[in-house]
Amino acid sequence: MSGLDEMNKKNPFNVPENYFEKFNAEIMSRLPDENNTEKRNVTPLWKKILPISAVAAAFVGVLVTVGFFNNKTIQKDKGFAESESSANETMMATTSSASEADDFYLFLQDEARNTSYYETFAE
């Protein structure tokens, strides 16, 4: 049995002639320019205003998220058995302004329901 210790450890792979010399020249010509380091110390005006507007934007964002500006009332779902009808009602209510987020959640509900049905029957 040929033990690994007795084997030839020499590299059986080779490269084209002068490969490494050519490579070194080629890679240097391929390097992208280093322009980004020149703009280091100049803070653009917009960056200075950013922290303050970030607070303002975050504040407004919080208000939107909690539905401060949202006058619709969305029905709370009542469990799987009844969710079909309430989902339909929700769909009716938001027909004209069905947002992606609402649609996405309804999609998740469908998927969850299918998983539950499958698990019930698969038992």
């Binding site: 030839n8 590299n11 059986p12 792979f13 890679i27 240097m28 390097l31 992208p32 280093e34």
Partner: protein
């Protein structure tokens, strides 16, 4: 490269004025070593060339992020190995090859024109290709490059103990492969 020389090189790399010439030194010093790490992973010379270029470009664009927490060589090896593995993954994806399909790599070895080993060496390479990817890398580093476990541990982000175990498994698998195929 001595610790002192390396510190100077790093300083030159992070200084815009001296960056290019320092990088050229880097390429001269490390391109061959990195090439062989990559070549042993991707098998094929043309692919290795592509990955080597990507590696150096990645190094170049990330020079400012290098803080000197590890040796330069360790950092380069990490990038090179990651690029090589990503490269293989992309190739496999494009050709819709399942991850456990051995023939993909064996074919690369078979069709490699820049291989001039004898029959025994070819068998050994085929044996190495039967190892899972990470184990293959560990084996190549230990067996062919005779790298120390501590260095491997830094490059591969794996404990010395785990590496030793991996290497011993690899040796056993290869010896089994070689004895059954004779």
């Amino acid at each position: 490269m001595s610790g002192f020389d390396e510190k100077i090189l790093i300083a030159n790399l992070q200084n815009k004025a001296t960056r290019r010439s320092a990088f050229e030194k880097l390429v001269q010093e490390y391109s061959e070593k990195l090439y062989w790490q990559i070549r042993k992973i991707v098998m094929n010379h043309d692919d290795a060339n592509d990955v080597l270029q990507n590696t150096f470009i990645k190094v170049w664009t990330n020079l400012e992020n290098f803080r000197g927490e590890s040796k330069l060589q360790t950092w380069f090896y990490k990038i090179a190995i990651n690029e090589a593995i990503s490269f293989l993954n992309k190739q496999r994806q494009h050709q819709n090859i399942p991850i456990d399909d051995d023939s993909f790599m064996q074919n690369k070895l078979e069709s490699d024109v820049y291989f001039d080993g004898d029959e025994a060496q070819k068998k050994l390479q085929q044996a190495v290709l039967t190892l899972p990817e990470k184990q293959r890398i560990v084996f190549n580093m230990k067996y062919f490059d005779e790298m120390k476990y501590e260095e491997m541990s830094e490059i591969l982000d794996t404990s010395v103990g785990a590496l030793k175990a991996s290497y011993h498994h690899a040796v056993k698998k290869i010896e089994d492969f070689l004895s059954t195929s004779n």
